[in-house]
């Protein structure tokens, strides 16, 4: 049975665009980094490095907001907020370090994304072929769930490391920096839900196999 519904074709198109977009990025990013590293000796290029931190206790005394009646209100941040603090990079060694850091982070993110998209593409291919209820797809769905969960923790850990590094490296005035472990719970729940569905899928494929082999 060949499926070619509009929704299926749209999904295939979206995934193909995502896939090739990621592949092109995987080629372009290293090229851009090589170019950046090779031009790092150029004194005219303005290179900046930023610390990303989680700011709280922000001094809002210089901030103001006036309403339509001309009354001045007090400004406060409900909670902390992410801030970036920029510094110029003046040495070649510092620029090369930054390029390497970007290479590692973007490499990991791209690899993660490519594996994720590949699973979706492969599942959709089996749908196009008319037989998606195969055990290998249960494994693919499970891998998607695992990637979502690992991604959630990885992201939170990265934020903690980045904000902790900023906290330990900078002396601030008018606000304070803290290490912040901020987890995307919706993404975590989505990952766990996908894992549950993968187990349902696995059992379903087993039941179908048994049904087919019942004489």
């Amino acid at each position: 049975m060949k499926q070619s519904s509009l929704s299926l074709r749209v999904l295939k198109l979206v995934l193909t665009v995502c896939w090739w977009g990621s592949v092109i990025m995987a080629v372009l990013v290293p090229l851009a980094l090589v170019y950046a590293a090779s031009s790092s000796g150029n004194p005219k290029s303005d290179w900046e490095f930023s610390y990303t931190g989680y700011a709280s206790g922000i001094d809002t005394s210089s901030l103001s907001a006036v309403d339509r009646d001309g009354r001045e209100g007090r400004v406060e941040f409900n909670e902390g907020t992410w801030v970036q603090v920029f510094y110029p990079i003046e040495t070649s060694a510092g620029r090369v370090k930054l390029v390497l850091l970007i290479a590692v982070v973007s490499g990991v993110v791209l690899a993660f994304f490519l594996v994720f998209i590949k699973q979706l593409k492969d599942i959709l291919d089996t749908v196009s072929e008319g037989d998606p209820f195969v055990e290998v797809n249960a494994g693919r769905v499970r891998l998607i769930g695992v990637l979502l969960i690992v991604g959630t923790f990885g992201q939170a850990l990265l934020r903690l490391v980045v904000s902790g590094y900023a906290d330990s490296s900078l002396r601030t005035t008018g606000f304070q920096l803290d290490g912040n472990f901020e987890m995307n719970f919706m993404q975590l729940i989505a990952g766990v839900s996908v894992l549950v569905l993968s187990e349902v899928f696995r059992l379903g494929t087993k039941m179908r196999e048994e049904q087919e082999l019942t004489v």
Binding site: E210, L213, V215
Partner: protein
């Protein structure tokens, strides 16, 4: 699986081919072949009954249990 289907032996005893048995039982050749080669995961009572009738035997004559 430790359950062995002895369809081959019964068919030999009766001098019946797989095609003939499939015709008599009302199963497809492919399904009967699954049963004969031991790939089947389950057998319906109705199938067992039809095979027993066609081969004039009892269910116990068709099934064996080999402990591994």
């Amino acid at each position: 699986m430790p359950i062995r289907v002895k369809l081959d032996e019964r068919m030999r005893e009766k001098g019946m081919s797989l095609t003939e048995l499939a015709d008599r039982v009302g199963l497809t050749l492919a399904n009967l072949s699954i049963l004969k080669t031991g790939k089947a995961k389950a057998v319906r009572f109705s199938t067992l009954e039809a095979i027993c009738k066609a081969l004039e035997c009892k269910p116990g004559d068709l099934l064996d249990f080999d402990e591994e």
